[in-house]
Amino acid sequence: MTFSNIINRKTEILSRLDTERIYVENIRGFFNLPFKVAKFFCEMAVKQKYFEKKIGVQCHNEECRRIITVVDTETEVPNIVECDVCKELERGVHVFHPVHGDLIEFYKLANKHDDRRSN
């Protein structure tokens, strides 16, 4: 693969990235880093206020696992959540108490990252 191809490929990946939902795996894959390094990179970006850290509460049903709601910290995770997709698809259990395995971390590009960069 030529250098130009690599750049084009990286540009394509970057253009597909949703800045509202950046997962550590997105960063790991983009820079081809070990997971721990990519995680560290994300946490540093939070400290530098480039990223905001978010926690998604996923549906407990294995066949669903959609993010039902998003909070900023684990203390804000609701005691009870209802998945309206599972409810409306008549999947039976659709109200549950979230457990740690139902939580998924991601990052979003901070709204004021441009201001931060210009300072």
């Binding site: 998604g56 669903c64 696992r65 959609r66 993010i67 039902i68 709601t69 998003v70 309206d84 997709v85 409810k87 409306e88 698809l89 008549e90 039976g92």
Partner: protein, 289 residues
């Protein structure tokens, strides 16, 4: 467990409490309302309420095509396979509300016991133009709810199955020379989607060599948030997919409904807000189909 009052109580609880309170002009919780209804009204009044308000229930709607246009004059309800509550056959439209009894054979714990739980299951059958529409009220899924304390239902089987009653109704319609076949509703569904009357929260579609699902997080929807995926879906067959009403007329459709377009089946899993919403969904799909 299965007295007349038990069955009537379960029947009333298939409806939203708001609708029951309004109809019988009562206040309070379920237990209080049901005592009042039994004290003041005979069974016939409850059955009349069921007939008039079946569109308030959670239900499956099965849509079939008829091979010829329905004519009231050449149709009668003799031989209908289920107990009929009401039947109206006028102006080239026939509506039958039936109330079969469904039996669940259950195995319950603490102590282990084999027993039965019975329900009335309201079914509305409509013949109009070139369509047969069968609306089947869905029953409570959690049967443990009907046993006290820590008793749990660990196994259950249902008699007769929904498919059995559907086949019996289709067989009856066929015997009247109408020849009902399940109706593919892809065209109607996709038109409503294109016109932004509905958008999708859970998409299940056939690709040439695979089945693909997309479940949207939070309140995101396919067409609005994944326009490329929407474009790529336009010519693909859909399996059971969940739609959300996004049209401008308030409460015109139920907020959500699921649809299996190849089978011609709709599912309404939450109580409708009024008795027009389900008819609006069916009519608008068929109008564009």
């Amino acid at each position: 467990m299965n007295t007349d009052k038990d069955l009537l109580t379960r029947l009333l609880k298939l409806f939203p409490i708001k609708a029951v309170k309004e109809h019988f002009d009562l206040q309070g919780k379920w237990d209080e309302i049901i005592v009042e209804i039994f004290a003041k009204h005979p069974q016939k009044v409850i059955f009349d309420f069921v007939s008039a308000n079946i569109d308030y229930t959670r239900q499956h709607v099965h849509i079939c095509s008829l091979q010829r246009v329905f004519r009231s004059s050449s149709f009668d309800t003799e031989g209908f396979p289920l107990p009929i509550l009401t039947a109206v056959n006028l102006n080239n439209e026939c509506t039958i509300v039936a109330l079969p009894v469904i039996t669940f054979n259950v195995l319950v714990t603490k102590p282990y016991e084999e027993t039965t739980v019975q329900f009335y299951q309201p079914i509305k059958v409509t013949l109009k133009n070139r369509h047969l529409i069968i609306q089947v009220t869905t029953l409570e899924k959690n049967l443990s709810h009907y046993f006290e304390g820590e008793r749990k239902v660990v196994d259950s089987s249902r008699e007769p199955h929904e498919e059995y009653n559907l086949s019996a109704i289709q067989y009856f319609v066929d015997s009247k020379g109408l020849d009902a076949r399940k109706c593919d509703i892809h065209k109607g569904i996709k038109k409503l989607w294109e016109d932004e009357i509905i958008d999708c929260k859970y998409l299940k579609r056939k690709k040439s060599k695979s089945t693909d699902t997309t479940t949207m997080d939070e309140n995101y929807t396919i067409k609005r948030d994944y326009p490329d995926e929407y474009e790529g879906m336009k010519d693909k067959p859909l399996l059971k997919t969940l739609f959300r009403y996004i049209g401008e007329k308030p409460e015109y459709f139920c907020e959500h409904f699921n649809a299996d377009p190849m089978q011609g089946v709709l599912g309404i899993a939450s109580f409708p807000e009024n008795t027009s919403q389900i008819q609006n969904i069916v009519n608008d799909i068929l109008e564009h189909n």
